[in-house]
Symmetry: C2
Subunit: 417 residues, 2 copies
């Protein structure tokens, strides 16, 4: 179905808060086979809310409205909806009782009355009767409209647990004839991916391939439609196989997979432990790995050797090496990886040392020069990359390359992308 998303809040139109809820909703609606016509972001303004809602109902089959459901005076959604749809608000005592019971501390601290939350436009039904948050839906002129809180985790919970399923029920028995998948690719630029997949494009008008650089990765989306479920399944299976073959070994995962999760799964499956010696990435690689729950099963930790003193003291890099070759050199990278491996007792150790900029570059070693080394029980491998961009981009690309180095080693494919 065609949907429209309307996000409400002065904090969004003044650029104080990044709107992640519309993005979250769009992605999940798309994955569920819906198409988002437009996303509107407007301030706390009743006239604009009413206008946006009427426009959405004019061109979409359903609408999702986020924000403005709270108890304070700048929460205007319910009044605006009542006005726009000519549905006077009615009071829901059971909602007030529940919200008051669950937010009593907040109410006491702020002195704000919760009553406003329980005045909903006529015809409103709660989305989840056991939730301690606002959120309702109503059907207007045959179209469902969902009203969700603006707080991201509340909105996301209700979207996944109450909205997506209600939309599926709404659609009734309509078959699932749209398949969508995202291939996540690392180490291959968009143009090269494009070249590899060109044979699959245009082969069938029911196959759409999209390219989305999410630096340092590229995500490739595949959307297949069919007249029947069986036809959609068959066509999807075929193209899926062809794309996967064309992108291997750069294709690290699909949809919600993260590179650090894939690396973690490989290490866990092979019973290997990993240590790090980070210089220019300054802890970013460790942070990515430890953002994954359970990572202590395979990640022992490491050293953020942001000074030569630490490279010497904690990683046993010989001063001689640092003086003769410099901190950003193959020799230092190798010594760091070997030092991390022996200091920690891990099976594998990765070292990253480079120049993230903006200063510190030279003609011989410009900003973006990064050396990587991987120490394994058998050998130490090292290579250099020249990474483009400003400081955070160099750090992000170096982090990605370090994680991919472990992935490639674990899969026994060539280490250099």
């Amino acid at each position: 179905m065609l949907g429209e998303i309307i996000a409400i809040g002065d904090e969004l139109t003044s650029g104080r808060i990044l709107n992640t809820t519309s993005y979250f909703a769009a992605g999940h609606l798309f994955a569920a086979g819906h198409e988002v016509v437009a996303m509107a972001t407007i301030g706390d303004n009743a006239a604009l809310i009413a206008e946006s809602l009427r426009r959405a109902l004019g061109r979409a089959d359903f609408a999702i409205v986020t924000g403005g459901l709270g108890a304070t005076s700048d929460d205007l959604t319910n009044e605006a909806v009542a006005e726009a749809l000519d549905r006077p608000t009615t009071f829901h005592p059971e909602i007030l009782r529940r919200i008051e019971a669950q937010c009593s501390d907040w109410a006491a601290q702020t002195g704000v009355s919760m009553e406003k939350i329980a005045w909903l436009p006529e015809g409103a039904h709660e989305l989840k009767s056991d939730a301690n948050m606002a959120g309702y839906f109503l059907v207007h002129e045959g179209k469902p409209i969902f009203f969700l809180p603006g707080v991201p985790h509340e909105m996301e919970e209700l979207l996944l647990e109450a909205v997506i399923t209600r939309l599926a029920v709404w659609q009734g028995v309509e078959p699932r004839t749209v398949h969508q998948k995202v291939f996540k690719v690392v180490g291959l630029p968009e143009t090269a991916i494009n070249g590899r997949l060109r044979p699959m494009e245009g082969r069938n008008p029911r196959v759409a391939i999209g390219y989305y650089p999410v630096s340092p990765e590229v995500h490739v989306s595949l959307t297949v439609t069919g007249d029947s479920v069986a036809e959609a399944n068959r066509l999807f299976g075929e193209v899926d196989r062809d794309i996967a073959a064309a992108l291997a070994p750069y294709h690290y995962g699909d949809d919600g997979d993260l590179l650090e999760e894939v690396v973690g799964r490989l290490l866990r499956a092979q019973g290997q432990t990993l240590a790090l010696a980070e210089s220019c990435t300054g802890g970013l690689v460790a942070h990515k790995l430890t953002a994954v729950a359970g990572s202590s099963d395979y990640f022992v930790g490491g050293v953020v050797a942001y000074s030569n003193v630490l490279k010497e003291r904690l990683l046993a890099v010989p001063r001689e090496t640092l003086v003769r070759y410099g901190a950003v050199s193959e020799e230092t990278a190798r010594a760091m990886a070997q030092g991390a491996r022996s200091a920690t007792g891990a099976d594998l150790a990765v070292a990253v040392t480079g120049i993230a900029g903006p200063t510190g570059g030279s003609e011989e070693k410009p900003v973006g020069t990064v050396w990587f080394a991987l120490a394994t029980p058998d050998a130490t491998h090292a290579f250099r990359l020249l990474l483009g961009g400003v400081r955070w981009q160099v750090q992000a690309k170096a982090c990605c390359a370090a994680l991919d180095l472990v992935r490639r080693y674990s899969l026994a494919v060539p280490l250099l992308p």
Copy 2:
């Protein structure tokens, strides 16, 4: 002036890419004294582009359109604009020459002709004649419209270097009678901030105070308007002083300041060096510190001690301590901080050890229990916090608290928020 932002791209409406450019534009327009009426996000659809543009011109004084300026067939902005505003496209050979010269590799690799980029709606003027990117503006019915690329760094560069200044010129001599500022606060919940600032609210209708939780921080925005520049300045100065006094020492910086930058400035000014011993934050604190250019002047590095082995081997935490008190304990936190300080020779060392979850909690030490320690030349200080939220939130809050510990020590204010 009133502005409207229109972002174009199927990658946005399908939820594959998070729209950060509209957020960036809104924040900078707001800071420059403009108000964004609405932000629209639409797919690559000429009819929707034309409709959105006409609506924007109906209710705003200027519009910013991002995306859809490229050379491929799904870039539809220029045709849609030509249609919507009845301004046939005209060819700009000088633009084609420049873009071709700068993108010759890309064009050769992809086989895509650049010509499309140089066909612009009648009356279009380039935003930057030395830029290797698309971007133009035109004035329609007395209102300026800016067309910018959808690629974030290109869009951001043109917005800051060409759009904001042109808007100021457009406004002519209109006095700057709006002052806006964001106070960044750490360690004090929104409700407590609200309580402290209530006396300043409602004192004057020309003073607006907004509260924006950006977990783990809270940002407080102050907007002051005056009939004259002098009046605006006087009123702003007064309220600014009062708010700063009410929020100290929780108020760490303003507007674009980041906590890690403020900590870095303090360390640099005092000639102190810092080391880290991170367990549950897994490198996040080091990553934040090293995201700041020049941080090697005061940050020497540290140990991500994600296993007991590393706590013992690299931080000299006695096995006895780990066994008797556990990895998450005051004793271990103190030993980690002291160990990091002696291993690295830094003036100060911060240790963080806790349970980020989702597993690993117990009745005595639930998920969210985090011990912090700060080793200084004189003493080692330690305290415990119980942090709410899921894994990444516990990590983010612990990181924030660790940085704030250094800030508070450097300012000689009580260490515990």
